[in-house]
Symmetry: C2
Subunit: 341 residues, 2 copies
């Protein structure tokens, strides 16, 4: 029964031209109110829908945004960072509000990614979330810039490249998190997370962490910074290593909630208590963080606002407007894991 209905069928039924049907359905002011209503009524009656391929081809735009989500290669679906998934939710919603569809693609850094969504006219612009290694990723960004692709990315400002980013003030967020622990009297605060150019967000958090310690005249020996990627497992291993090294530690700043959650598990498995023996704070405020044991104190990134800003910035760029990088503040969400409550 799916014999295709076209605008010509509607035109015939309504006794007008196909051009008029096209205008009426797009609510063009060029068409008579009465005509418009009649055409729309008939279209509804016949369950007619404009063929997007045809209209996109003709008007040379897609009404679609592509979201490229990068993760380290892994075939484990469960490894998708819940923080990004929360972002995905808010981005989808923001797109829908703006009348855009969202094409989602999980990219492995291994593949020939920057999947040409804009070049193939499937999308008007691209949102980039995450990256494996920042140094590799930077090369890809250069390609996108060269191709004049419209895109925004989530993250810290990219130096030396004309890239529009939306991100959090990771330095300040890291400062606040560590400062919170200092205020609670902690003296030996470990930082878990890779603090290198390969992970600029973590690095900024680490620099904020160090600044807070400096301001309080507390040292930050190298032995208290342990590399980890943003998974529970990595946080667990890093914390385990730290505990087994007999380094003195009374608090931990996990550079993501997943890391902090893994660290808490390692602390428990080691026979110690959070926050009594070791206080813990995280970064992100993923949905689960209020339900860990104990509930996790963390520097919250506002994913709702982030999604809105990403879409807003991208749409402006597509429209030819100039936009700059936006950094949002983080807010401390104090729960039990730090020992404050």
């Amino acid at each position: 029964m799916k014999s295709k209905i076209t605008s010509f069928d509607i035109a015939y039924k309504a006794g007008v031209s196909q051009s008029t049907v096209s205008r009426a359905l797009r609510n063009s002011p060029l068409v008579n109110e009465e005509t418009r209503l009649k055409v729309q009524a008939i279209a509804r009656e016949l369950n007619y829908k404009v063929d997007k391929n045809a209209s996109n081809l003709r008007s040379q735009q897609s009404g679609t945004i592509a979201l490229l989500l990068f993760e380290d290669p892994t075939n484990d679906d469960s490894m998708i960072n819940p923080f990004f998934l929360a972002m995905l939710g808010s981005i989808t919603r923001a797109c829908a509000n703006a009348g855009y569809d969202l094409l989602v693609s999980f990219q492995q850094m291994a593949n020939d990614w920057y999947a040409d969504y804009e070049d193939t006219h499937k999308a008007d612009g691209i949102i980039l979330l995450g990256y494996g290694d920042f140094v590799d990723y930077e090369e890809k960004l250069k390609q996108l810039i060269e191709q004049n692709t419209h895109f925004v990315r989530w993250g810290s400002e990219v130096k030396h490249l004309p890239v529009v980013s939306v991100g959090c003030d990771n330095f300040l967020g890291g400062y606040d998190a560590t400062n919170h622990l200092i205020k609670l009297g902690k003296q030996h605060i470990a930082f878990i997370g890779e603090a290198s150019e390969h992970a600029p967000e973590f690095q900024d958090r680490y620099l904020g962490h160090c600044r807070a310690l400096d301001d309080a005249a507390i040292g930050h020996p190298e032995s208290l910074q342990i590399d980890a990627v943003s998974t529970e497992d990595s946080g667990y291993q890093a914390m385990k290593e730290l505990l087994e090294s007999d380094t003195k530690v009374d608090a931990v700043f996990g550079s993501s909630d997943l890391i902090a959650i893994g660290a808490m598990k390692a602390i428990h498995d080691h026979g110690l208590k959070v926050p009594n023996d070791i206080a813990v704070v995280g970064f992100d405020d993923i949905p689960i963080s209020g339900y860990t044991y104990p509930p996790l104190t963390t520097a919250k990134q506002d994913t709702t606002l982030a999604g809105e800003l990403l879409v807003d910035h991208l749409l402006k760029m597509i429209g030819g407007e100039m936009v700059g990088t936006t950094l949002m503040p983080t807010t401390m969400v104090v729960r039990k894991s730090c020992g404050a409550a």
Copy 2:
């Protein structure tokens, strides 16, 4: 610099016709090897990409699948069920493997949903994940059927409707979960989750739960079934209510991991211990479940396989094949929350 390159430009450069370019780029066997390589080389050199709108319009297919994710209306992004998000990951991956793009849409039951992705030729078929209230949702399914839309859904078999589903054997999963608790000597096992026709999956789990109790000659009084939707908060409230009611309970089967996690928090807040005072099992095995305190024992649904099956079934339907509903088994993942380990 984005003056549009078309297949005619490639044809001109290669000294062949545009038809040949089109064939060469799609690796048609109708084209000479040498010609094909030359054309492809030139296309690459000029960074030419086939315009999807044009090719889709002409060939009347989109190479795209739409994923519609339903949740109860809420403006909180964090409420997106991590189980569905894990599914999203595996569906995206399965689509990519099949050469399809994925259009994602979060639907609120309130809206005029079934967003006509197939009618507008933006997608060749639709995958449905979740639903608010099943009774309302069933009406929407009827519309999709009426429109001859190609779609598959995640969930239990739908009775009396010609709908293809992929889901888990919730009855057996529920049976296994409760049976596991029985084997550990539990006698007063509560079920938290709505066990009504409005949530058939939960209902099936409940029926499996009851059957296991029947088989062991243990009662299942109504007082031990508390309604809850699939959120930590709802699980927390339900458990709190149960604890305050002074009903005797030595174990809890949360009909989703989120519910179980919320319940564990309520048990802790009530001053009791998991699993010593009350054992807990969940359902799903979401990523976080290995990192809760204590780690959650749960009936795992294999999201990777689920995503593959959903895409596989849908693609077959699009291709005109007949496919039926598939029910996958669940597997018990035993961790500490049940007291077995």
